[in-house]
Point group: C2
Chain length 158, copies 2
């Protein structure tokens, strides 16, 4: 991913205006700790402006385009290495979503070194922080559900 300073600044502005940096915890029994950590950087546009996201997709060389049923087109960057590359490029220029970007990079780093259920729970607690930064109306504490599940399955020592 080779971007000029102006391209980085433009994309940072566009992400600040109309994008999202978030991590979801999805229950999935096939995973060691029963939850899948699903990070994403997403850009949105109406279907009629979908070409703009295709241009961005091609420029960055990562992620994929998804057309939703409600007429919104999403450009999603979901794999860790691509997210790291993208956010490291944008970080100097991000303003509104700088904290989310830093938290995302921290979570991806932590995920790479998970050794125990305790480590996993710590990541879930970090993911909770997104809701405070993103001013989400839902105040679901993902980490409480993770903790309950890990205890129930005796993966976490009491």
């Amino acid at each position: 991913m080779r971007l000029s300073k102006e391209e980085k600044a433009y994309i940072a502005g566009f992400l600040d205006g109309d994008g999202s940096i978030h991590v979801r915890l999805k229950p999935n029994r096939t995973y060691r700790y029963r939850f899948q950590i699903s990070p994403a950087v997403v850009f949105y546009q109406s279907a009629k402006e979908g070409d703009h996201l295709k241009w961005l997709n091609k420029l960055l060389g990562i992620g994929y385009i998804r057309k939703r049923n409600d007429g919104i087109v999403e450009f999603i960057v979901g794999d860790s290495d691509s997210i790291i590359a993208l956010l490291c490029n944008l970080l100097p220029y991000l303003r509104l979503k700088k904290k989310q970007a830093e938290l995302m990079l921290e979570i991806i780093k932590l995920r790479k070194s998970v050794g125990t259920a305790e480590d996993f729970l710590k990541i879930a607690q970090k993911i909770d922080l997104f809701q405070n930064i993103n001013y989400s109306k839902k105040r679901i504490r993902n980490s409480l559900e993770v903790e309950r599940t890990l205890r129930k399955e005796r993966l976490l020592t009491p």
Copy 2:
């Protein structure tokens, strides 16, 4: 308004993502041609992110902040000279809203040389074009209302 290339690119990206470039025609009997031409470049944010717009307001040194009742904060640039200065800086970096910016600059230029009701009607027809570019759901033809009024008041020769 002295901006670095990166600042111009960032603001262009932010405007492309979450801003608006539009012209309204407001009926106003105190105006020579019975309508006020009201151009605006607007940036939006939730009230909690209002500081970001204050930063932008200060950086650009133009426009003003308005807090709406629904919790949205707007940073509005509404006077012609400020709009010209802003858009000329952003034009090389705008992508999604480049056409709107060019149309806006054209309308502001035409407005400065209005001599007759016919000239005024031509501007109203240009303003109609915004609805096509902005994919507005409302298909109000402002110029038809302007033409009707100008004829009724015998400002426009039949």
